[in-house]
């Protein structure tokens, strides 16, 4: 009992001390601007986390090599904290909390996919910390959340883009959808696509099948889809599932085209899917092949640094940091208290009406969502993503 009391006492002293320590830090003049990154470095889509981190490192080096970010006539170095959300919804909220409460970041970039961005956006909003999701396209990420912003277009825009393109390109009358029911992004986009396809009045969505995130066998769903004989299959899934779905559909005798969404756009899609994905189309945020201007400069530098073409999430992360930096400049000073600073950055973000990024220029609406163009790319016979068509709202 005595030992127990002793350890409790020690723990209390430690806690009190650490509280003093923390407050002691806060009273110092701020030396850096600390931004957190909530990224899927492991889990289902590690490639996405990696690409985002690479782009962020590049941005960080640019700023800090110049002595830091100039705010209110004084230069402050940036500090980026990367944390792994394992591509899980529950880990994403934990990471957001950790960044806010332990790391005391002034703003958060990420999570990337809607599956994590929707719950983590809630956490950031409740804790009054500005968050920008680079890649999330699900409306719920920012809906009624004044603290949450994004750099990508929305699924209510992407769904009709896919439907329009497919009806033109494949001359399609009927469509089928296979999606991941436990992924907010996939499910949301599938439903939006279904309603926008049916609104066109060309024909019905003949099959609307779902699967789970960890599933590896899709033959039963695909048999149902193929029996319904659609003109094309829409697959708003992550690249790892796309590779399996396309292969299994071909094994079951399907010869028609596939249409994908922005989650397809990773170099790993080609590595995992190979030739079977060639010749298919997907909608995305930008096309690396044939880019011009600032986009081209970014792509060339990224390729030189990491030996790979940056995918859309890398470019969007770059733009997200750009938007964040502009917000900090809008606010015009750096507070010692992160809570004060967060409030300022949020106001700075809300004040941005338009932004010229490497994924195109955009305007922001009242929800904090950008209004920008989408592109449709074709997977060429060399496995490159080639620009096919640009669709603007």
């Amino acid at each position: 009992m005595k030992g127990f009391l002793k350890s409790v006492g020690l723990l209390t002293i430690l806690l009190v001390c650490s509280a003093f320590l923390l407050s002691g830090c806060g009273e110092d003049k701020p030396k850096t601007i600390k931004i957190g990154f909530n990224l899927p470095l492991t889990g289902d889509i590690p490639e996405v986390g990696e690409g985002s981190k690479n782009a962020a490192e590049m941005y960080l080096k640019d700023i800090n090599d110049n002595g830091g970010l100039e705010v209110g006539g004084q230069k402050y170095p940036l500090e980026f904290v990367y944390m792994d959300n394992e591509s899980k919804a529950e880990s994403a909220t934990n990471v957001a909390l950790k960044l806010i409460e332990q790391e005391n970041v002034v703003a958060i970039i990420g999570p990337n996919s809607s599956k994590q961005a929707v719950p983590a956006g809630g956490t950031c909003n409740e804790n009054r910390t500005p968050m920008i999701s680079p890649w999330s396209t699900n409306p719920n990420t920012t809906l009624d959340r004044p603290w949450v912003f994004r750099a990508a277009f929305l699924d209510p825009f992407q769904g009709p883009v896919v439907a329009d393109f497919a009806s033109k390109k494949f001359n399609a009358k009927t469509a089928a959808v296979i999606f991941d029911v436990s992924n907010d992004y996939s499910k949301g986009l599938a439903e939006i696509f279904k309603s926008s396809w049916e609104a066109k009045g060309l024909g019905p969505v003949v099959a609307f099948e779902s699967h789970g995130t960890k599933d590896q066998d899709f033959s039963a769903q695909l048999t149902t889809i193929i029996a319904a004989n659609p003109d094309f299959i829409f697959v708003p899934d992550n690249y790892n599932q796309v590779a399996l779905i396309v292969q299994q559909a071909r094994d079951l005798g399907y010869t028609g085209p596939f249409m994908g969404s922005d989650a397809w756009g990773t170099p790993d899609l080609i590595k995992l899917c190979g030739e079977q994905c060639f010749g298919n189309y997907f909608s995305t945020h930008y096309a690396a092949a044939g880019a011009k201007g600032a986009t081209k400069v970014f792509i060339d530098r990224y390729e030189a640094a990491y030996g790979a073409t940056p995918a859309d999430y890398a470019a969007l992360t770059w733009d997200s940091i750009g938007i964040m930096v502009e917000a900090i400049k809008n606010y015009g000073k750096v507070d010692a208290d992160p809570v004060e600073m967060r409030k300022g950055i949020r106001e700075g973000l809300a004040a941005i009406t338009s932004f010229d990024g490497i994924t195109g220029s955009c305007k922001f609406d009242a929800q904090g969502d950008p209004i920008k163009c989408a592109v449709v790319v074709k997977i060429s016979d060399k496995g490159e993503f080639v620009f096919e068509e640009s669709v603007c709202p």
Binding site: P46, S210, H211, G212, D217, S219, A220, T224, G253
Partner: protein
């Protein structure tokens, strides 16, 4: 009609993997009364071993043709994976058994071993997925609207052959008799002069070897490897083994195919949505266990295997 036959084929292929993995669970349980929760991850390790073995054989130093690679990789993968299983038994389960630990602790150890395998793989190879090379040139046969690939046929035939082989070993051979003996009475068997540790090692060789075989075939059918690929399928195969009556070879085989058929069936039925697949699948299994708690072929108490 071809829709139904197609789905039966789908179910047979998917059920084959459940059956192959469930057989490993059931063998170890039958002899040791130990639920080897690391088995799903031994299956994952098997798939990775198959990846590296076939990568090495296809590579520049040897440069074998894909078909030869498949034939060579088959035994090599099985042997290496069974070594993994035996190592697990040696360093994790045997010391506990020697100290007379309760079975519960060994089961927890098995769970931890599975996590260690997953995360050491994650630490060594990273989170990025691997693409398994094509070893058998795939041919798609179309018979009256039903499509089947040569790989599917190989998978289904292998599952049946493995079942027949294990059934033969356990029921018709001396070593099988020893295995059944241990399951009856662990204390009397050493007194009969049977080397109990050797029999247990043999059990692990069989179970893990066939997990390696399943890993190879799985990687060929679903050619994307990741460190957690064995988790869900391992759990489901365990449930299949329990439903079939864990400890019974026939039960694991039937249970595996049963689960495959239920999963595919729920998706294929036109009036059910695919969203409800796992919900319906496991409700059906729950009802089976409710009616027959020992599983389809299971017998109460210690007369298993």
């Amino acid at each position: 009609m071809d829709f139904i036959i197609q789905n039966i084929l789908n179910a047979l292929q998917w059920g084959s993997f459940y059956a192959l993995i469930a057989l490993g669970y059931t063998l170890v349980y039958g002899v040791l009364r130990l639920i080897n929760f690391a088995h799903g991850d031994v299956f994952m390790v098997g798939a990775y071993i198959a990846f590296f073995v076939s990568g090495f054989m296809l590579g520049d130093t040897l440069g074998l043709s894909p078909t030869v690679t498949f034939l060579c990789a088959l035994p090599v993968t099985m042997i290496l994976t069974s070594l993994v299983g035996v190592t697990l038994e040696r360093i994790a389960y045997r010391p506990l058994r020697r100290k007379g630990a309760h079975r519960l602790y060994v089961v927890i150890t098995a769970l931890m071993c599975g996590l260690i395998l997953e995360y050491s793989n994650l630490a060594v190879l990273g989170a990025s997925r691997l693409k398994f090379p094509e070893l058998i040139h795939k041919t798609v046969w179309n018979i009256g609207g039903v499509t089947v690939t040569n790989l599917k046929v190989i998978v289904i035939v292998t599952a049946v052959l493995v079942f027949l082989f294990l059934n033969f070993i356990v029921t018709r051979t001396k070593i099988g008799m020893a295995m059944r003996g241990i399951s009856y009475d662990k204390f009397a068997i050493p007194l009969m002069g049977i080397p109990i540790d050797n029999i247990i090692v043999f059990t692990f060789i069989l179970g893990s070897g066939f997990a390696g075989l399943a890993g190879l075939l799985f990687a060929m059918s679903y050619p994307i490897l990741e460190p957690f690929m064995g988790m869900l399928i391992g759990w489901k195969a365990f449930i299949a083994a329990v439903v079939g009556g864990i400890g019974d070879i026939k039960g694991a085989f039937v249970g595996g195919f049963l689960l495959g058929f239920i999963e595919v069936g729920v998706v294929a039925l036109p009036f059910l949505e695919s969203t409800y697949r796992d919900l319906f699948a496991f409700t059906i299994l729950l009802i089976i266990l409710w009616i027959k708690p020992t599983g389809l072929f299971g017998m109460p108490q210690s007369t298993k295997i």
